[in-house]
Symmetry: C2
Subunit: 420 residues, 2 copies
C-alpha cells in the first residue's frame, strides 16, 4: 500500500464512522438528489426536498385550478406570509409573530434598512461591511442617498470598536454573521450588544445562516433581520425572502414599501395608508404563492431536526473537509480561506486557487458541484440535511485528481458562463 | 310562453349565435376550468392555463431537482426576467428590450415612480388618481415623502385639464387606463400626450389592461408602465409583476431598488452599484423562478391570438352582459356602474347593489364566481380567452334568481371572509 493509498483508506474509514454515527443521516432521504452527483452548492441553491413536488401539484391543480379565487380564504393563501414566516422563525430563534415571508432579499433589505433608520432619527450614519454581499452594499448606498445619511464601510471585525468610538452617530449597522466568500463566522450576540450599547439598531442578513446555524434572534435581542429562502432553507430558485421584526419595534415600524397587503384593512380599499397591527404591517405586495408554497413544503425537511444537530454536523463536515484538503490537496496550489477554528466558520469551506473558475468547471464535469467567487475562491457549502462525510471525501478526492492531472486547463472549462 | 321565458329564449339564441361566430372559441380549451363553474373573476386571479402544470413539473423535477444550480445558465433562468418580459411586452405593444418581469406590483410601482421622478428633477408634484387602486396611492405617498414631493390627487377625467393648467410643476402622473372598480376606460394616448405637452412623464398601471386591451405602449409614446401577472395574463396567484421602461429613458433610469441582479457585472461582486446597460438595469432581486416560469407557460395561451380579437370579444361580452342585466335584473335593485359606451369600458362589468357582499357569496354558491369591492360593487371580469356569451347569460340569470328569491339574505352569506 502506498502512503497515498493509506491516507485515502484512513479518510474513508473516518468518513464511514462519522456517517454511521450521524443522527441526521436519515434526513437525506427527504431530498431528491440526482444520481452520481455530490452537491456542495446548497449555499447558493438548496437541493429539492421530496415534499415540494406533491405540494406544488396540489397548489396548482386543486388550489389554483379548482378553488380559484376562493383559495385566498379557503386554502389559507392570505395568511401564508405570516404562517410560513413563523415556520422560518422557528429555525432562527424567533418566537411566532415576528417574521413574514415575501418579496426578494434585495427588496426586504431596502424596506428593513429604511424603516430601521427611521427608528433612529437624527443619527447620520449607516454602517455596513465592505466585504458584505454586493446587494447589501448597493441597498445601503441607495437608502443613505434617499434619507440623506452617510454610509460608512467598516469590516465586521472592526465593528465593535467603531461602535464604541463613534456609535452615538450610528442609526443602523447592517451586517451578516457569515462572510459569503470565506465562510468566516462573526459573533452575532457580541455585535448586537455593541450596537445596542451605542443606541444603534442592528439589521442582520441571514442568507448564509438561516437553516445552517442556531441563530437566536430573540435570545440576543436582535432588532431586524432578513434572509433568503433558497440557500440552506432549500425553498427553490428565487424562493421568497423573509423579514424578522422584533416585537418591540413593530408598533413604530414605518416602512417605505407601503403595499396594500400591509394595510390595516386591505379590503376596505382606503386611499390612505394605515399600517396593520403587529408584524402583518411588514407585508408589502401580493406574494408569489407558488414559490411561497414550495418554500413552505421545503421547510418540513427540518421537522424534528434541532438546529444544534445541524450545527454539530456541519462543523464536523467542514472540519473533515479541511482535514481532507490538508492531506489530499497538498502541493497543488490551494490554500484555505475558511478559518480553522470550528467556532469561527459557518457551513461552508472556501479554498483559494488562482485557477478557481476552471477548477470548479472541471470538478462539475466529474459530478461534484461547488461554485466560485471572483477572483480566486472555490466555495463548497455543506448542508447538514443531505451532505455526508463520504460526499466531502469524494469531493476533495476529485478536486485533487482534477488539479493533479491539469484537467481544468482544457479549453472547454475556461469559457465563462453568465452565472458563475 | 311567458314574456320572461321568451326573453330568456331570445337571449340564449343570441348567446349561441355569438359563441358560434367567436374566432377565439377554441382558445378556451387552453385552460383547465373546473366543472360546473362560471368564472368571472379572472380580473382578480386568472384561471389555470393547461400549459402550466407540465411546465412547472419540468421546472421542479428536472431544472431544480436534477440540473440544480446549473439551471441559471443551462436552462435560461438568468435570462428569464427579460425573456418573459419580452413575451409580456408583445401583449402591451412594447418592442423587445423594454420590459422585465419580477417582484410584486407594489415594489415595481415604488421603483418606477421613484426613478421616474428622478428623471424630472426640480418639479415638485406627483399626480395620482383618488380612485386609483390603493397600493398605487400608498406608494405615491411614500415616494413623495422620501423625495420631498407633493402628491396631488386628481381624478383621471380631470387629468388633462390639470396638466394644462399646472403641468410644468408636475414630475410624474401615475394613472391606470381602467378604473378597477367600475371598469371605466380612459384614453391612454390622450393622457400620455397631455403629460408630455406639460413636460411630465406618465407611469401607467396596466394591472386591469394587460391581456385585456390592445395597449400600444410604444405607439402612444408611454414612458413607464407596470402591471401584474395574475389577472388577465393568468400567470398564477401572486405571479411576478412587470415593468416597461421605454428605450429613450433606459440610459438615465436611476432606480432606488439597487439589487444585484441589475448590476452591470453581477458576478464581479463589486462593492459599488454600476447599472447594467439597457432594460436589464431595471432588474432588482433574484426572481421567484417557479412563479416566473408558471407565468411564462401561461402566456402561451395567447399564442396566435391578436389583442384586437381579445378586445372585440370582451367588448361583445360586456355589452351582452349589460343587455342581459337590463332585461333580467330589472326591478331587483341593481344599477350599472360600468359605462354603456363600448369604448369607455374595460373588460369587466360592475353593478351596484346595497347588498353586494352577500349577493356575491350566494351567487358563488350557485357556481358563478365574481367578486365585490366595498361598499356596494359587484364585479364581473370577462377574460375573452375562456369566457363565453353563454357563461355571461348563465351568470346574470343566476344573479336574477338569487336576488329575486332573496337567497343572499341567508345568514351564511353574510359572514365576512378575510379576502373579499
Amino acid at each position: 500500500m502506498t502512503p497515498a493509498t493509506a491516507t485515502r483508506t484512513a479518510l474513508a474509514a473516518r468518513a464511514a464512522a462519522l456517517d454511521a454515527a450521524d443522527p441526521l443521516a436519515a434526513v437525506r432521504g427527504r431530498f431528491l438528489l440526482p444520481e452520481g452527483v455530490v452537491y456542495l452548492d446548497g449555499n447558493s441553491l438548496g437541493a429539492l426536498p421530496a415534499a415540494v413536488p406533491p405540494a406544488l401539484q396540489d397548489a396548482v391543480a386543486r388550489q389554483w385550478g379548482t378553488d380559484l379565487i376562493r383559495s385566498w380564504n379557503d386554502n389559507g393563501w392570505w395568511q401564508a406570509p405570516q404562517r410560513v414566516g413563523d415556520a422560518v422563525g422557528r429555525l432562527v430563534g424567533a418566537a411566532a409573530g415576528q417574521t413574514v415571508v415575501g418579496e426578494s432579499t434585495s427588496v426586504q433589505l431596502f424596506n428593513a434598512l429604511t424603516a430601521a433608520a427611521r427608528l433612529r432619527p437624527g443619527r447620520p450614519l449607516l454602517l455596513t461591511d465592505p466585504d458584505h454581499f454586493p446587494t447589501d452594499q448597493y441597498i445601503a448606498d441607495s437608502v443613505g442617498r434617499l434619507l440623506g445619511l452617510e454610509v460608512r464601510r467598516v469590516p465586521a471585525r472592526e465593528l465593535a470598536a467603531a461602535l464604541a468610538a463613534d456609535g452615538d452617530r450610528v442609526a443602523v449597522a447592517a451586517y451578516a454573521p457569515v462572510d459569503y466568500r470565506t465562510g468566516e463566522l462573526y459573533d452575532m450576540a457580541e455585535l448586537t450588544a455593541a450596537a445596542h450599547r451605542a443606541g444603534a439598531l442592528i439589521l442582520w442578513d441571514l442568507c448564509h445562516a438561516a437553516g445552517a446555524l442556531p441563530v437566536r434572534l430573540d435570545g440576543i435581542g436582535a432588532d431586524l433581520a432578513v434572509g433568503c429562502g433558497y440557500k440552506y432553507l432549500s425553498g427553490g430558485p428565487g424562493a421568497p425572502a423573509f423579514l424578522y421584526l422584533a416585537h418591540r419595534h413593530q408598533d413604530s415600524f414605518d416602512q417605505p414599501l407601503t403595499g396594500w397587503n400591509g394595510h390595516a384593512e386591505p379590503f376596505a380599499m382606503e386611499g390612505r395608508y394605515r399600517p396593520a397591527p403587529e408584524v402583518s404591517r411588514a407585508r408589502i405586495g401580493t406574494p408569489p404563492m407558488l414559490s411561497l408554497l414550495a418554500l413552505e413544503a421545503a421547510l418540513t425537511a427540518f421537522d424534528g431536526v434541532e438546529m444544534a444537530q445541524v450545527r454539530a454536523k456541519n462543523t464536523s463536515l467542514t472540519g473533515f473537509f479541511l482535514d481532507c484538503a490538508d492531506l489530499l490537496l497538498d502541493g497543488l496550489g490551494f490554500s484555505a480561506a475558511t478559518p480553522r477554528a470550528a467556532d469561527r466558520r459557518g457551513s461552508q469551506v472556501s479554498l483559494r486557487h488562482p485557477e478557481a473558475y476552471p477548477l470548479v468547471q472541471a470538478l462539475a464535469a466529474r459530478g461534484v458541484i461547488g461554485d466560485m467567487r471572483a477572483p480566486d475562491l472555490l466555495r463548497f457549502g455543506v448542508n447538514a440535511l443531505y451532505v455526508s462525510h463520504a460526499d466531502v471525501l469524494a469531493a476533495v478526492g476529485e478536486l485533487a485528481a482534477v488539479a493533479a492531472a491539469g484537467e481544468h486547463r482544457a479549453e472547454r472549462f475556461r469559457r465563462r458562463a453568465t452565472v458563475t
